[in-house]
């Protein structure tokens, strides 16, 4: 083996930290000066749900198959995980929706049965079915970039609306409207 610090560092390497830092500053500036409306329509809205079939996330509960979603009624599909803090924040809103009679299907991303059970025990369980997306493939297919995300699906299995981030109390009206639209 040769001696370790070989030559003088190359010219461009020396400038790399500065370049990375400038990238950081630009990124943060975008973050600071963005307009307050952060709703961005997804490319998948208006297109049919991709086909998938997920195994049950909990023993004794059904898994999630995309064919079941096209049963003539609008659905909510909620992508969540027990390790995600915003998911705890949106739990009361999901519970309210479930109480209002909205069928909610869950896709749990990269989770374990024990953690998931504990999460549902603590935060309530609004889901009809929960599919286990252990490698995040379905999440990717849905065009979802993170957790939590919630999709409104109409009776034919078409994605009507995508909600990115946690559902806050002020979003409930919007979601119910979208569901009503989807039911028409």
């Amino acid at each position: 083996m040769s001696d370790l610090p070989a030559n003088k560092p190359r010219r461009w390497v020396i400038w790399l930290p500065l370049a990375l830092f400038l990238g950081f500053v630009v990124l943060v500036m975008i973050g600071l000066f963005r307009p307050a409306d952060r709703n961005v329509a997804s490319a998948l809205v208006g297109k049919p749900m991709p086909e998938f079939s997920l195994p049950p996330a909990l023993p004794g509960r059904p898994g999630l198959d995309s064919k079941l979603l096209a049963n003539g009624k609008p659905h909510l599909v909620n992508i969540f995980a027990s390790w995600c803090v915003p998911c705890r924040v949106e739990a009361p809103q999901l519970a309210a929706l479930a109480k209002a009679g909205v069928p909610i299907e869950g896709i749990s991303v990269r989770d374990t049965t024990e953690n998931l059970q504990a999460f549902l025990q603590q935060n309530g369980d609004p889901y009809q079915r929960i599919g286990a997306d252990d490698d995040g493939q379905v999440q990717l297919a849905l065009g979802s970039s993170g957790v939590p995300e919630t999709y409104v699906i109409d009776g034919k299995g078409t994605i009507v609306y995508q909600h990115i981030g946690e559902i806050r109390p002020e979003h409930l009206g919007l979601l119910l409207d979208k569901l009503k639209e989807a039911g028409r």
Partner: protein, 654 residues
């Protein structure tokens, strides 16, 4: 009156910082050498004035002077005195004043005691320190004046976030700030050395106590913060990879790397440019951390004090200081030679490996923390959680821990593995035995498994540097290293046990019901109302027993309601045994009269924080050792100078 005195002191300190910057810079030029004499006194007075301003702020908080806007917004006359005082820095303006105060005092100490470096480097260092301080003075005075008056004077203050009315938290931010600001001194040294191109062992020795001190405070701060989140948030977790936690972890990682590379520079005169770079990065991480926390750009459980406008101001400072320092680095680094060479298998080689791994983890944490921002810029809002951070950081932490066991045994410059192999037989066997034991227990996933076996091996290996040494003559820094490395093994063991063996239970119980969690039997004895100075609470009386014939002990978790401002919090109850902690949280009352109770049995979990404190203690040993030998050298030098003078007076020397 006191508030105005504080404000005046602050303005004066800012003016002196400006003068210090100008005279320090002029002192570097040939014509301005006359100015160089005033730089050190300026730094001292500037520090004292900042301290005076901070004292004034503490005073107005202690007497609850509600005519000061900051006091009215953050305090309350009924609050216990210690929280009144802690309230002085438990808010944005006060914490920034604390920042400049610590920075000014640090500058004063550097100016008073540091005599080893060439004078031009000292001038550049103090000018750099003044430049950084000046930005924060401007920030305080222009956009967040802590002494602003309020008219008319309100009859009562707004109180303080009840989550923050906690002794641990009162002293948590100042501890972290001491760490951040200590790194600012390292930053100034790095800038000074870059400007004068004097990068060598003397620079590393001058910088090292500051890095060590900052690192000790950061270690304590992170440990305390983690424990606070553990018992105060009531979620049972001890680390959430939350942006604010990451903001304190990143400077720690950089400071840890800096500490080790500064050692190489001090003893072997190698890794010059890299050490400078780390000096810049460590403070950059402190500032980026402060920025991320204060600007509210990332949503977080810790977002107590957020304000986008102030975020912009800090971002401006960040761009000037870090952008400037990195530009200076890029311009000068090519002229700083790398220094002495060494073989791959050597103490230096192991330390370089440790540095690269720490930097990689730092990069991973930084990327994960900023990723939601990146995604948001592209139109998505996401949360990055443990599934990313845990395996990614373990990827680099595991090899680093292995090298941590071997590295301290290697010789400087060049060595062979064969020479140290024999000593490592016992730790390797311990790893194998622990591995078999854990497999037999079963049900442990990969990361906790690796953590457990490595912790066991490392615990032994960390004491190996003491073999063949006379323990009474072993220098303190070596003891420090041994203790800190052992602390890492202890903390790692705690973390792995926590994630591998925790038992969690959520139950709804009536009074008199008995439930079990792990080896514990828990009985809900009664629910009673209790009252504190500014809150009322429902308190559950739990009778718990370890095993079938253990002693019955009481635990008292509360669901607290603060009334100034009105807010609900849950106070968890903890019961510590030598082999773990029982953790109880009281939830709400159900419709059927049953109470929700959350219980965790966490084997060996206190070791996480004990390990953290051991790491800090190791730092303290090393710091005492370093400072002691510095003082001894100073004294010896003084004696020699005295003797020469005396001989000259006696006419023994011409």
């Amino acid at each position: 009156m006191i508030a105005e005195l504080g404000l005046a002191a602050l303005w004066l300190a800012a003016a002196l910082a400006a003068l210090q910057l100008v005279s320090g810079s002029l002192g570097l030029t040939r014509r301005g050498t006359a100015m160089s004499g005033v730089v050190r006194p300026l730094a001292v007075v500037q520090g004292l004035l900042a301290l005076l301003a901070f004292g004034c702020l503490i005073y107005v908080f202690a007497v609850t002077d509600l005519s000061v806007k900051l006091v009215a917004a953050n305090s309350h006359s009924m609050k216990p005195l210690v929280f009144k005082i802690a309230g002085a820095w438990g808010n944005h303006e006060g914490s920034m004043l604390l920042w400049v105060t610590v920075m000014g005092m640090a500058g004063a100490v550097v100016a008073l005691v540091e005599k080893r470096l060439p004078e031009p480097t000292m001038l550049a260092t103090l000018a750099g320190q003044a430049f950084v301080s000046l930005g924060f003075y401007a920030f305080l005075l222009l956009s967040s004046n802590p002494f602003e008056r309020l008219s008319p004077v309100p009859p009562e203050g707004n109180g303080l976030n009840p989550l923050l009315q906690d002794l641990g938290l009162a002293f948590h931010p100042p501890t972290l700030y001491l760490g951040y600001v200590g790194l600012s001194v390292a930053f100034s040294f790095a800038i000074g050395a870059l400007i004068t191109r004097e990068v060598g062992p003397a620079f590393a020795r001058a910088m090292r106590p500051w890095v060590l001190g900052a690192w000790i405070f950061l270690t304590i701060g992170i440990t305390a913060g983690s424990y606070w989140a553990y018992y105060e948030l009531g979620w049972g977790g001890w680390w959430f990879w939350d942006p604010v936690e990451n903001a304190s972890l990143m400077p720690w990682l950089a400071a840890t790397a800096l500490l080790h590379s500064a050692s190489v520079l001090a003893s072997r005169n190698a890794l010059r440019a890299w050490t400078i770079m780390l000096g810049v990065v460590a403070f950059s991480m402190s500032m980026i951390g402060t920025f991320l926390v204060r600007s509210g750009i990332l949503t977080s459980v810790h977002a107590f004090a957020v304000d986008p406008e102030r975020g912009t101001f800090i971002l401006g400072l960040l761009a000037i200081y870090i952008g400037g320092a990195l530009t200076l680095f890029a311009l000068r680094a090519a002229t700083v030679t790398e220094g002495k060479r060494f073989a791959l298998v050597s103490r230096e080689g192991a330390l370089v490996f440790n540095n690269v791994m720490l930097s990689a983890i730092l990069g991973i944490v930084l990327f994960g923390t900023l990723y939601p921002l990146l995604a948001e810029a592209m139109g998505a809002k996401v949360s990055v959680g443990p599934p990313y951070f845990n395996p990614m950081s373990a990827l680099f932490a595991v090899p680093m821990l292995v090298v941590l066991a071997v590295g301290p045994l290697l010789r400087w410059r060049r060595d062979k593995f064969a020479r140290v192999g024999k000593a490592l037989v016992i730790p390797a066997m311990l790893v194998a035995v622990a591995g078999i034991a854990v497999v037999m227990i079963g049900g442990v996933s990969l990361l906790p498994f690796l953590g457990l076996v490595l912790a066991v091996g490392l615990a032994w290996a960390s004491f190996l540097p003491l073999r063949d040494r006379n323990l009474r003559r072993t220098p303190l820094p070596v003891w420090g290293m041994v203790i800190a490395h052992f602390g890492i093994a202890v903390a790692l063991f705690g973390m792995s046990c926590e994630s591998a063996f925790t038992v969690e239970k959520l139950v709804a119980v009536r009074t008199g019901d008995i439930t079990e969690v792990g080896p514990w039997g828990v009985k809900l004895d009664a629910i009673e109302p209790v009252a504190g100075p500014n809150w009322t609470a429902l308190e559950a009386r739990l009778l718990v027993r370890y095993g079938p014939d253990g002693k019955v002990t009481r635990m008292l978790p509360q669901s607290r309601s603060f009334w100034a401002p009105p807010q609900q919090t849950s106070e968890s109850a903890l019961l510590t045994r030598w082999n773990g902690q029982l953790y109880a949280v009281l939830g709400g009352e159900g419709e059927d009269g049953r109470w929700q109770l959350r219980l965790w049995w966490k084997p060996f979990v206190p070791l996480i924080w004990i390990g953290g404190l051991l790491i800090a203690l190791g730092g303290v040993f090393a710091l005492i050792g370093r400072v002691k030998s510095d003082v001894r050298r100073l004294v010896a030098k003084g004696r020699i100078a005295d003797r020469h003078e005396g001989e000259a007076q006696l006419g023994m020397r011409p």
